[in-house]
């Protein structure tokens, strides 16, 4: 996984659902750059024009609830967003984010300690979240060992390849 990430926070509320992350009408788009232009459009139509590459989405509980559309984390990643920090994630979004390599951090304390515009530094490997604007530091929940091994292996695709190579 990448070394540290640094960007400004864009903070949202709870239950940011996949319909606002990438509205259904865009779900037939294959081109990732095009998908990225519509990230969070249903919630904050100005997000993509306002954010700078490397910025970070911060949200309350149940981020990514609703549909299983994998284009939701793909759109966020393609917009240039470096990571999502939330108090909790919806189940399918969580798997999808890990599978496509969008870094996610689960920490209620970090979310409460960050406001929009704060400069944030993240260390994906250790789960450390630093609020450089306020001089605070948090540690996100650790991934369970199996998921950690999937992440370290580079995601689900290399995992499947190793299973195939070993004759399943």
């Amino acid at each position: 996984m990448e070394s540290s990430l640094r960007g400004h926070a864009h903070k949202y509320g709870k239950n940011v659902d996949t319909d606002v992350i990438i509205p259904g009408k865009y779900c037939n788009i294959v081109d990732q750059t095009e998908l990225g232009k519509h990230a969070l459009e249903g919630l904050d139509p100005e997000y993509v024009s306002r954010m700078k590459s490397g910025d970070i989405i911060v949200a309350d509980t149940n981020f990514g609830c609703g549909s299983s559309r994998e284009v939701a984390p793909i759109a966020i990643k393609a917009s240039g967003t470096a990571a999502v920090i939330a108090k909790s994630f919806a189940r399918i979004f969580y798997r999808n984010a890990l599978n496509i390599g969008l870094p996610i951090f689960e920490s209620a304390e970090a979310v409460d300690g960050i406001e929009s515009g704060d400069e944030i530094e993240l260390e994906p490997a250790s789960g450390i979240v630093r609020n450089l604007t306020r001089g605070t530091e948090y540690r996100a929940a650790e991934f369970p060992p199996f998921m950690r091994s999937l992440i370290d292996a580079g995601g689900l695709v290399p995992y499947v390849e190793s299973r195939l190579a070993a004759g399943r």
């Binding site: 659902d17 319909d19 009408k25 559309r69 189940r91 499947v160 195939l164």
Partner: protein, 427 residues
């Protein structure tokens, strides 16, 4: 310690004597589902997996074109085409194109592709629908689907189970949809996240297969990984009429451990409505009608309520009547078979004569794809499962979720209407 119904099914598919919540398992799948949107991404991922030229079993994959079909535009047509070519290349037996299928979750049970005790994963969050048949079924994204295409296995974290025990007989014009909306209202949209919901009680024992489908379908609206019923004689008869494949009917152990047990008495339950903009913003109809809310569109259909039983309820209410002026009513029978049955029973004619637009089966209107998209400032009442901002089109539209009866009653008046009022009028 005994196991819940979900734990029983997961243990057997993982080849383990028992499993417990939190445990990570590798489980064999009996069926992998994808639609043209999730399949297109999954096929792309599969092409990148070194050593993966073939799916694990062409008889255990179902591909259904249902989201942007009949093709909304050239881009949508190419996604459906990509899936069709993949089905041919991989010799996938269960491929359903426009005119031969319908909405995936309506089609698979009809075709005998879902049986008790099975483990099914799909590239659609409403894959949990098959819990109605006593199967473990859960939605996943496309990369997970691609892995399942190739390995015939998935990794899963065993969920803790929430036991919902329903009692009481629902009153007139109160349906499974009302019971499930109330349930989502009680649990909240993240109330069952990472959990299994196990439905119990005398009320659900009496429910039709369609009613159980409606309830299992909306388990995801409380964030659940799956929602599951015990198969009974009705379920087994339904499945045996459609497949000769052997299956194992599992039961939860008497001493199974549940994280929570919630008792819900439906005797005094009114018709329920989920108000904008979350499916857990659920209120009794009498609270909602107080605001005298005019609607622009009524939608009847979807994997939640696009079944023949649902259309019969709607046709009975609309028979010989006209929908309100300045209103549009869109009806999507859930599958080609439902459409044909409704045609045979004269339902389609009844609905068309009342002023409804009857569409070909598909998911389009429900997720704001096409064939019933809402404009700015419009308000809809719908039998679908989600009412998030922008779900059916404009982010400036409002969506109310309700039963087919409540939607049909609202179609007559053009306002959100308690279907029990019609009952009083007609009797």
């Amino acid at each position: 310690m005994g196991m819940t119904l979900t734990e029983k099914i997961l243990a057997r598919h993982a080849g383990l004597p028992n499993v417990e919540p939190g445990q990570i398992i590798n489980a064999k799948v009996d069926l992998v589902l994808a639609n043209e949107l999730s399949a297109a991404v999954a096929i792309g991922v599969m092409r990148k997996i070194k050593g993966a030229s073939k799916v694990f079993d062409p008889g255990k994959i179902a591909l259904v074109a249902d989201h942007f079909v009949p093709a909304k535009d050239a881009q949508s047509a190419s996604l459906a085409r990509l899936m069709k070519d993949f089905a041919a290349e991989q010799k996938i037996e269960h491929f359903f194109d426009v005119g031969r299928g319908g909405i995936e979750h309506v089609v698979l049970p009809e075709e005998g592709l879902v049986a008790p005790g099975e483990l099914i994963v799909g590239g659609d969050s409403h894959t949990c629908t098959y819990g109605a048949f006593g199967a473990f079924a859960t939605g996943m994204g496309s990369t997970d689907v691609a892995a399942a295409f190739v390995l015939g296995e998935v990794w899963l974290k065993v969920p803790a189970s929430i036991k919902l025990v329903y009692s009481g007989t629902p009153g007139p014009m109160v349906y499974a949809k009302d019971i499930m909306l109330r349930t989502v209202g009680e649990l909240g949209i993240d109330g069952a996240t990472y959990r299994a919901i196990e439905y119990h009680g005398t009320t659900v024992d009496e429910l039709s297969i369609t009613g159980r489908i409606t309830m299992a379908n909306m388990a995801i609206e409380a964030g659940a990984k799956n929602g599951i019923f015990h198969a009974d004689a009705n379920t087994i008869a339904f499945v045996k009429e459609r497949t000769e494949r052997p299956f194992v009917v599992e039961r939860a152990d008497a001493d199974a451990a549940y994280e929570r047990v919630i008792e819900i008495d439906v005797s005094a339950l009114e018709p329920q409505v989920a108000c904008p903009h979350t499916p857990d913003n659920v209120h009794p109809i009498s609270d909602v009608t107080r605001d005298d809310l005019r609607v622009d569109q009524v939608f009847i259909g979807s994997c939640t309520n696009g079944y023949i039983d649902d259309l019969r309820v709607v046709a009975k209410i609309l028979d010989g009547k006209q929908i309100a002026p300045n209103l549009r009513v869109i009806v999507n029978p859930g599958s080609q078979k439902v459409w044909m049955q409704a045609a045979d029973e004269g339902i389609l004619t009844t609905l068309a004569a009342a002023g409804c637009a009857v569409n070909t089966p598909g998911c389009g209107a429900c997720f704001g794809g096409h064939m019933g998209t809402l404009g700015d400032g419009e308000r809809a009442i719908s039998t679908t499962n989600r009412n998030y901002v922008g779900r059916m089109g404009s982010p400036k539209a409002e969506i109310f979720l309700a039963s087919p009866a409540t939607c049909a009653a609202s179609a007559i008046t053009g306002r959100i209407t308690d279907p029990r009022v019609l009952e009083l009028v007609s009797s």
